[in-house]
């Protein structure tokens, strides 16, 4: 057994600080004739605990960071609602929406299109810098995160496809009474949330490696102010649509109040982002 191999279970930062000491300790224990399997278990357990702690710290940091305030909650909600939506949109009930349901569904689709366009624009702005980064051999730095995002996307896509198939072949009443169907909806929603979160984390990690021009950074500041509102609006329109399909007045009122609250702060955020962008460009041009 090579002690150095066991260090792979630990996070990189921990290895850099304590790795040499731990390897020496394991080697000392081996020299004393301690059972290798026990040492291996202890080191692996320790490594997994450190990775768990690191993940907890990272999650806590993102939750307390002003930039990510509420964003993880939004991501989870988005995934769950998309999961429920996947089941409901394909059901015969919504195949022929009527009255308010039709209006609400149009609002959902418009919100999804606008949010998608804003997110796409944000990504396209960084595309030239991303291409330069990849051509310079940057892929290994983001490969693992992109791999996790892709794996979660495949899982979410599989769940979604299953839900669509099941929704199309069973009557709504039968689906509503099936715990397996709702478990599938929940799991698909969580997989979607995981995919969205992992891609967001991959994008954030990739952005750290990109060299963006002041003009692009200024534009991204504005889009960064718009995107959270767009996502929130999309979620609220989903809630509105749902309240229309369920004839729930309480949910309708709550969603409308949320929509008003979310919209109220947006102009101020955009104005501040524009001012920061101008300052950024001025500083870059030396004025």
């Amino acid at each position: 057994m090579k002690p150095a191999n066991l260090l792979r279970w630990y996070p990189r930062a921990w290895r850099e600080r304590y790795g040499g000491e731990l390897a020496a300790l394991i080697q000392d224990n081996l020299d004393e004739g301690r059972p290798a399997w026990r040492l291996r278990l202890s080191a692996i357990g320790g490594g997994l605990r450190e990775r768990f702690r690191q993940a907890l710290h990272a999650a806590a940091a993102s939750l307390t960071s002003p930039a990510w305030h509420n964003r993880w909650g939004t991501i989870v909600l988005a995934g769950l609602i998309c999961g429920f939506l996947a089941g409901d949109l394909t059901s015969p009930l919504s195949a022929a929406p009527r009255g308010w349901q039709g209006v609400a569904l149009d609002a959902v689709l418009a919100a999804v299109a606008v949010t998608g366009a804003v997110v796409l624009a944000d990504g396209l702005l960084a595309l030239p810098a991303l291409v330069r980064f990849l051509r310079a051999g940057g892929w290994p730095k983001i490969r693992r995160r992109a791999g996790w995002g892709a794996a979660a996307t495949v899982a979410a896509g599989g769940g979604l496809a299953g839900l669509v198939l099941v929704s199309g072949s069973h009557p709504p009443a039968q689906l509503n009474a099936s715990w397996a169907y709702w478990a599938g909806v929940l799991v698909t929603g969580l997989a979607m949330a995981a995919a969205i979160g992992l891609w967001a984390a991959a994008a954030t990690a990739t952005a750290r490696h990109l060299t963006l021009t002041p003009r692009v950074r200024a534009a991204q500041l504005v889009l960064g102010a718009v995107i959270p509102t767009a996502v929130t609006t999309m979620l609220i329109t989903l809630a509105l649509w749902w309240s229309a399909t369920q004839d729930s007045l309480t949910m309708l009122v709550l969603a409308a109040a949320n929509l008003a609250a979310a919209s109220a702060g947006t102009p101020g955020k955009i104005r501040r982002a524009v001012r920061r962008g101008r300052r950024l460009r001025s500083a870059a041009s030396g004025r």
Binding site: Y18, L25, N29, A43, G46
Partner: protein, 106 residues
């Protein structure tokens, strides 16, 4: 949990602080000492997990050494204070337990 994070007599952080109370030691010497005085055999993962927590809380610190692979640690003043407080708590509980059992007339 106490503010210092020290809970039970067989908690690895508490055992490490007790071991370091009489002078700096590196990982292997710590494990041997703990096994001798407490009869607890700490695996490398548990030992370095506890060292990491204690160092993060400033209760122990690395002590100068040319050999980075066998770096000694020493207890810091806050570490000594936390250890003293934890041991005082344990002594209070121990005394109460012994008195109630009629084993400690004091």
């Amino acid at each position: 949990m106490s503010p210092s994070g020290l809970r039970r007599p067989n908690d690895p952080p508490l055992l490490i602080l007790v071991s370091l109370a009489d002078g700096p030691k590196h990982g292997h010497a710590l494990a041997k000492d703990i096994e001798d005085f407490a009869g607890v055999r700490l695996g490398p993962g548990a030992l370095y997990g506890a060292i990491t927590r204690l160092a993060e809380r400033g209760l122990i610190e690395p002590f100068g050494s040319d050999d980075d692979r066998r770096r000694p640690y020493r207890i810091t003043p806050p570490g000594s204070a936390a250890l003293a407080a934890a041991l005082a708590d344990m002594r209070r509980v121990t005394r109460a337990g012994l008195a109630r059992l009629g084993l400690d007339p004091a």
